[in-house]
Symmetry: C2
Subunit: 265 residues, 2 copies
């Protein structure tokens, strides 16, 4: 199970080449991707600049009204998902892209209101298309894996009422890895792993014991918090090993499997 | 097999409700959609206004360079495909959206150069992401239909070299209808059918004999030409009946099945 982030400057070329080579060796793989930076750019050009909120417990998340959701669908499900599929197909990999809406692949609970800390005060925002995952349609994923397809997955998920909800990609990767009983979950970004003193790359934490994972939350900045939380969920769900590593190195998957990054097991 | 166009003012609500009701009655359905008008709007906002070319034989098509392809992917595969899936899911239909890239669903031949008549002269344009369909992955569609999913399909297709190519949605619908041995192919747009004197709605041609279909090309204006060509291909491929009809009426599918529109058989 490989998750590649959607931050600024992520390179998809080495990742896709590595995926193709590993698949040719017979490994079963599933890819999940993000698209945050490009969504911000496109949403701004389309007249709906992104809005982020920080919850009272310190998690940063995107506030997703209908206009933001449309930009989200365009970038995550359109531009990024389909260009990853195209790139993998050109490398001979029979990739197949799906969002969580498709075939009720990822079902969750919508949280229509979100608490946001602004200027030291807590505000309540409504109309948010956000939520948490409650079920993965493993039957569909297994149908596709058995058919020889490489699933390329993207948020959003679908609420139980049939509304698109933005669910964090790392949490999706963790839930899918656990549901498929994946051996490894690799969370790849532009950073080399979890840094004790962000953004200093020499402060890389090479290993976290699964039992210590939640204490890693203290070290994690902003978006890294969700990766550490995703790692904790995956390990609790039965995934043997989670690696937070860089997507922007040669053979990023092999490199992460070899332990380059922050290994959590 | 239902194809809904992507012209200005197409309403998806009645279509999706009719799809849900027909499926509840046990009908097997596949939906193909367009997205032309919205792609033009988004591409313009993103700084790449659309460019259309008219071939020497009179067909109008979109000139699709990489920037245009990205806008195309965003709107067709992202915004429209996923909002149709979301709408159908909210109606209890287990819809699953796929482009032609996914799982090599629609494979075609790229035509990298296009001849364009401009000011009476024929020019040759290069770098076009356009082509014609050569194969439909019916195995994948049948896998999904057997699994209880309603496929919601969109261009682009994939070239044999693994590059995204824009293939006309009506020709896709015709090819998929023939490949799945569909009984009916409904091509729904904002117009009531094929008009002898476009845009006069009272000039509706109620029936064309399959053998006469190609003569219908003379009556067809602009984008309608491709619908008539798609109808001809579908009938030649074994589809019993093609109906060109309006999407913007109550129960548009039942209405088209009842013969409201231009029936070709």
């Amino acid at each position: 199970m490989v998750k590649v982030g959607g931050g600024e400057g992520i390179q998809y070329g080495p990742l896709c080449e590595d995926l193709a080579a590993l698949r040719a060796e017979g490994h079963a793989l599933v890819l999940v991707h993000g698209g945050s930076a490009e969504t911000n750019r496109v949403a701004t050009l389309l007249g709906s600049p992104p809005r982020f909120v920080t919850s009272p417990s310190g998690y940063v998340s995107r506030y997703t009204d209908r206009a933001a959701l449309e930009a989200f669908l365009m970038v995550y499900c359109g531009k990024i998902n389909k260009q990853l599929v195209e790139r993998l197909q050109a490398l001979g990999v029979n990739a197949l892209g799906l969002s969580g809406l498709d075939g009720r692949l990822l079902v969750g609970r919508r949280k229509e209101t979100v608490r946001s800390v602004e200027g030291g005060k807590v505000k309540v925002l409504r109309g948010d298309h956000t939520g948490t995952l409650s079920a993965v349609n493993t039957e569909l994923l297994e149908l596709l894996l058995r058919g020889g397809y490489l699933p390329v997955l993207t948020p959003p998920a679908l609420s139980e009422q049939g509304v698109a909800i933005n669910v964090d990609g790392d949490r999706i990767a963790a839930a899918v890895a656990a549901a498929l009983r994946a051996e490894h979950l690799l969370l790849l970004t532009g950073a080399p792993g979890l840094l004790a003193a962000f953004p200093d790359p020499t402060s890389l934490i090479p290993h976290l014991d699964a039992a210590q994972v939640l204490s890693g939350l203290n070290a994690a900045e902003g978006r890294m918090k969700k990766k550490v939380l995703g790692a904790a969920e995956a390990v609790a769900g039965g995934v043997k090993r989670v690696v937070l590593a860089s997507a922007n190195v040669p053979n990023p998957i092999r490199s992460a499997l070899a332990g380059q990054g922050t290994v959590i097991d």
